[in-house]
Symmetry: C2
Subunit: 200 residues, 2 copies
C-alpha cells in the first residue's frame, strides 16, 4: 500500500524520477526510453539524474520490485479482513484489481520487463509470485472445504483466475466508469458461476 513511488517523502526528487520513468517506460518501453527523456520531463539535465540513481537498470529494478511487493502487501491486508474462504478470494481479487488500476503504468512495466532484471532480482520476483499465488490457492481451498465451492483443481483454477485478471491491462481503460472492485467481481463472477447449465 505504501510503495516507494507513492511514499518516500524523504527523497522527493527520487520519487519524482521513479514516477516520471514509470510513465515513460510504460508508453515507450524500457529500451525505448532515454535517460535524457526522463531528465527532460523533470526539467533537469541528464547528468543530474546520476546523483539520485546509479544506472538506468536501477530505475527499472526499483519500479518492478516495488509494484511486485505492493501486490503482496495488498493481498496480505485483504486476507486479514476476510473470514470465509469465499470472502477471502473475493477480497484478494479486489485488492489485485486495485493495484492493477491504481498502479497501471508500473504494472505494464512490470509485466513487460521483469525478465530483463538480473538473475538475483528475477528470482525475487518468482518467489514473490509463488507466494502470491499461494494466497489465492489457500483461499480457494478454504472455500472448497467449507462446502461453498466444488472440489476443483485449485492450482489450475487460480491460474485461470489470475490470467483473466492480469489480462485486463490490455483492454480496460481507466476512463470507463467500472471500478476496480466491480471489475474484479465481474471476472470472479464468471468463473464462480461457470458456463454450464445446472442439471435439475
Amino acid at each position: 500500500m505504501t510503495g516507494a513511488a507513492v511514499f518516500d517523502a524523504a527523497r522527493p526528487r527520487y520519487s519524482k524520477l521513479i514516477e516520471v520513468a514509470t510513465e515513460l517506460f510504460s508508453s515507450n518501453g524500457y529500451e525505448g526510453t532515454t535517460i535524457r527523456q526522463i531528465a527532460g520531463a523533470m526539467g533537469v539535465k541528464s547528468a543530474s539524474l546520476y546523483s539520485h540513481v546509479g544506472s538506468k537498470a536501477d530505475i527499472l529494478r526499483e519500479i518492478v520490485l516495488d509494484v511486485a511487493r505492493e501486490f503482496t502487501e495488498s493481498a496480505i491486508a485483504a486476507k486479514a479482513q476476510a473470514s470465509t474462504g469465499e470472502e477471502e478470494l473475493r477480497a484478494l481479487c479486489r485488492a489485485h484489481m486495485r493495484v492493477m488500476t491504481g498502479r497501471a503504468g508500473a504494472v505494464v512495466v512490470y509485466f513487460h520487463n521483469w525478465r530483463k532484471l538480473n538473475t538475483e532480482y528475477q528470482r525475487e520476483i518468482v518467489s514473490l509470485r509463488r507466494r502470491y499465488e499461494g494466497f489465492f490457492r489457500v483461499a480457494l481451498r478454504k472455500a472448497i472445504e467449507d462446502g461453498s465451492y466444488r472440489p476443483v483443481d485449485v492450482a489450475r483454477s487460480v491460474r485461470v483466475l489470475l490470467g483473466a485478471l492480469n489480462w485486463t491491462y490490455e483492454w480496460h481503460s481507466p476512463k470507463r466508469r467500472l471500478s476496480a472492485e466491480a471489475l474484479a467481481d465481474e471476472i470472479l463472477g464468471v468463473i464462480v458461476a461457470g458456463l454450464r447449465r445446472e442439471r435439475p
Copy 2:
C-alpha cells in the same frame, strides 16, 4: 496456418530474417535488439539487411501483423469443422492455443509491441481483434441458444476466457508435456464448470 514466416519459400532470406528477428525481439525486446544483432545471427553485415527490408520498423510490422492474421485464419478453419456451439467454442480455444504455443516467439512480440505500430496498422490490429473476439461470442451464443450453457454475459465471459488463454504465455513452458489442445481444454474446462457447488 501459412504465415509469411513459415511459408514464403520464394524469398528464403527474407523469411530467415523475420524468423531470426522474431527470436531476438522476443527475448531482448524490439528496441533492445539491434540491426547488427539480426545481421550477425544471419551471418551477414548489417547493411545487407536493407536489400530485404526497408527499415527496422518494417520488420516489427511484418511479425505482428502476420501472427495477428494467423490467429484469425486459424479461427476460421476451426469454426468450419464444428457443428454445435459447444464444439465450436472448444475448437476455437484449441486453435488459439496452437498459435500461442506454435508461434510463441511471435506472440510475445505481438503482445508487447503492437502499440508501437503506426496508427494505420494499429487500427488493423484492433479490427482483427474485434472480429476475432466476435467468433468466440458467436460460438458461446450458439451454445446458450441450444441450451448447453446458461444465459451468461457473453462479452464478459469471452474476455475472461481469452484473458486466461493469453496469459499462459507468461507461465507455460513448451517443455512441459502438456499439448496446446490439453491446455485449452483445461482452461475452458475451468470456466465451463465454474467454482460454485451445484445446489441439489
